[in-house]
């Protein structure tokens, strides 16, 4: 920046560039502050708190041995197992919307209205959808009415009431809640598909299945990847509302997932330290999925 030797235009450009950088830093500062203060720093705090005996007011340093103790808690493994079992719903949460999107893409009469109807539940809170699901699975609910309608008048289910079936009911509800969003993603993907490609394949004598398998599906791969990541993230971090209103994590711990365990440990049992540790475990799990997501987004940048 020695102004004595620099020519006038270059000096001007330098200051311009510096001023632009300064303006950029100033404009970005609030966002940086907010994200640092309320997302990044708490991650660090969680590491510290996880090694303390802590009830939210006073904390006593204990050290990494708290990890050992917490990792031997069977409830943690129940929650992790529940999360793993719920992953089994992901293929349905992707497959059904894919089928629906392909159907919509045929542009049958009234498809625009159907599209709006299919997307509509996406707008509703999962609190409300959980309440509705509770009505569906209840002893005097819709599911039993359907079963009776088909002639099994002495069969009565109460899926949310039993440890063996409650998680399945939660999984089914989760699939329903994801249908709208994923259908929307796939339909957007299908809209970017050049119809002349399919036409050409048809003229060449390819059947519908072959066209779907070798033209439509590869074209949708990025959309399917995105939907997969979004669905898994939702599975790990958005079930709270459903669980809160449908089962409260029960019966027993049958529907307690990691995120719900964090809430229970922290706010029902007042054990903030262990809850912070469980939070870190959830963070690591989602970070793994997040890396996949970033690679997806970053692929063309």
């Amino acid at each position: 920046m020695s102004s004595a030797t620099a020519t006038a235009p270059r000096r001007r450009r330098l200051t311009l560039s510096r001023r632009r950088q300064l303006a950029g830093a100033v404009f970005a500062l609030p966002a940086i502050g907010l994200v640092l203060g309320f997302i990044v720093v708490p991650i660090g705090q969680a590491v510290y708190y996880s090694m303390t005996q802590w009830d939210g007011v006073s904390s006593t340093w204990i050290g990494p041995s708290t990890w050992n103790q917490a990792l031997h808690n069977p409830t943690l493994w129940t929650a992790l197992r529940n999360n793993a079992l719920l992953l089994l719903s992901v293929p349905f949460a992707l497959g059904l919307p894919l089928a629906i999107a392909v159907l919509l893409h045929q542009r049958v009469a009234g498809w625009r209205i159907f599209r709006s109807i299919y997307f509509l539940p996406t707008a509703i809170s999962w609190v409300v959808l959980g309440l509705v699901a509770q009505r569906f699975f209840a002893y005097q609910g819709t599911l039993n009415s359907i079963i009776h309608f088909f002639g099994f008048s002495h069969t009565n289910t109460n899926m949310l009431g039993y440890e063996s079936t409650a998680l399945s009911a939660l999984g089914i509800t989760f699939i329903f809640t994801m249908v709208g969003t994923n259908t929307m993603l796939f339909l957007t993907g299908l809209a970017t598909l050049d119809p002349s490609l399919e036409e050409a394949a048809r003229i060449d004598g390819a059947g519908r299945w072959r066209i779907f398998r070798y033209i439509t599906l590869p074209h949708l791969s990025r959309f399917i990847q995105l939907a997969f990541v979004m669905t898994v993230i939702a599975l790990f971090s958005a079930l709270f509302s459903l669980i809160f209103v449908m089962t409260g994590g029960g019966p027993g711990y049958a529907t307690t997932t990691m995120e719900f365990l964090i809430y229970q440990t922290g706010f029902n049992q007042g054990d903030f330290g262990t809850a912070a540790l469980y939070g870190l475990i959830l963070f690591i799990l989602t970070a793994i999925v997040g890396v996949v997501q970033l690679r997806l987004i970053g692929a063309d940048e």
Binding site: R20, P30, A123, S125, F236, E259
Partner: protein, 291 residues
């Protein structure tokens, strides 16, 4: 899906002459398709049937399984302060979205057009924060907000929503502004607008679609959320509607018809926003892969 469905000439049903077998197959296929889609529609509308029909009963009628009445709708406000809770939801939503846009837009402009040293790294950190679920940092967040004394009133919830929504909004605005030519900004600077002037006079007006996308996505997300409202708003009279419903449903003596009436009211605003701005939603969801 078993028959080709695209050959039908638009707006013309079967010809006067006897239809060829192929044509007939096409028409049966389309009819079957329509029936399937109708079936899917019934399933997707199920929550609305439940909310409407279960709410149009009294407690006794609900338990008996027959009869209709407007009783639960009339009694609704005495069971759940719906009006107040909808107002709370609206305040929290609007305040959070304003913060998210006011903070995310300039940052997106900076990360795309006014890049400074380490801006790429910082951008990556912010985008990564998109992946951090609130539950993962719930305990420290709760303690921090409590210590700052923000759990009385709406501020705590608004700050948490703003922090959670900002990474996405920064990402969206950055991606959006990358498509804006550098010449526009340079022209503004040469005209002596200054960087703030360029931001306000040139960048904000062209950012309207991106602002709409952020607003719609965040509105639905925040309006529908439970956890933040449940923990970060201590005053029960300032509860948003989702918290009101969830807490009511957790109680032992809950009247289902009133709960369903409240649910229906809570679902209405998000549905209207949704139907009105569907295309912005789609744009936001596929941001990053569909350009």
């Amino acid at each position: 899906m078993t028959t080709p469905l695209l050959e039908r000439p638009p707006g013309r049903e079967g010809p006067a002459t006897a239809p060829r077998p192929g044509r007939r197959r096409v028409r049966t296929g389309r009819a079957a398709l329509f029936v399937i889609m109708l079936g899917v529609a019934v399933v997707m509308l199920y929550p609305f049937w439940v909310m409407i029909f279960d709410s149009l009963k009294t407690e006794a009628q609900f338990l008996a399984g027959k009869g209709f009445s407007l009783g639960s709708w009339k009694a609704l406000n005495s069971v759940i302060p719906v009006g107040q809770q909808v107002l709370s939801s609206t305040i929290i939503c609007c305040a959070s979205i304003i913060v998210i846009v006011l903070i995310g837009l300039p940052a997106g402009f900076a990360f795309s057009k006014l890049r400074f040293r380490t801006s790429t790294l910082i951008f990556l950190v912010i985008v990564s924060a998109m992946m951090v679920p609130l539950q993962a940092i719930l305990m420290p967040e709760f303690v921090n907000i409590t210590k700052l004394g923000l759990t009385s009133g709406y501020f705590g919830a608004v700050i948490v929503y703003a922090a959670l929504g900002t990474p996405f909004s920064v990402f969206l605005f950055t991606t959006y502004f990358r498509g804006v030519p550098d010449e526009l900004i340079e022209a503004g600077i040469v005209d002596g607008l200054g960087y703030f002037g360029v931001l306000w006079r040139l960048v904000v007006p062209i950012a309207v679609p991106a602002i709409a996308t952020v607003t719609v996505l965040q509105f639905i997300q925040i309006w529908d959320d439970l956890l933040v409202g449940l923990l970060f708003i201590q005053n029960t009279s300032q509860r948003p509607i989702t918290v009101g419903l969830a807490v009511l449903s957790a109680g032992r003596t809950t009247s289902i018809p009133e709960l369903m009436a409240g649910s229906f009211i809570s679902a209405l605003p998000a549905m209207l926003v949704y139907l009105g701005f569907q295309r912005y939603l789609v744009k936001g969801l596929t941001m990053g892969i569909d350009r």
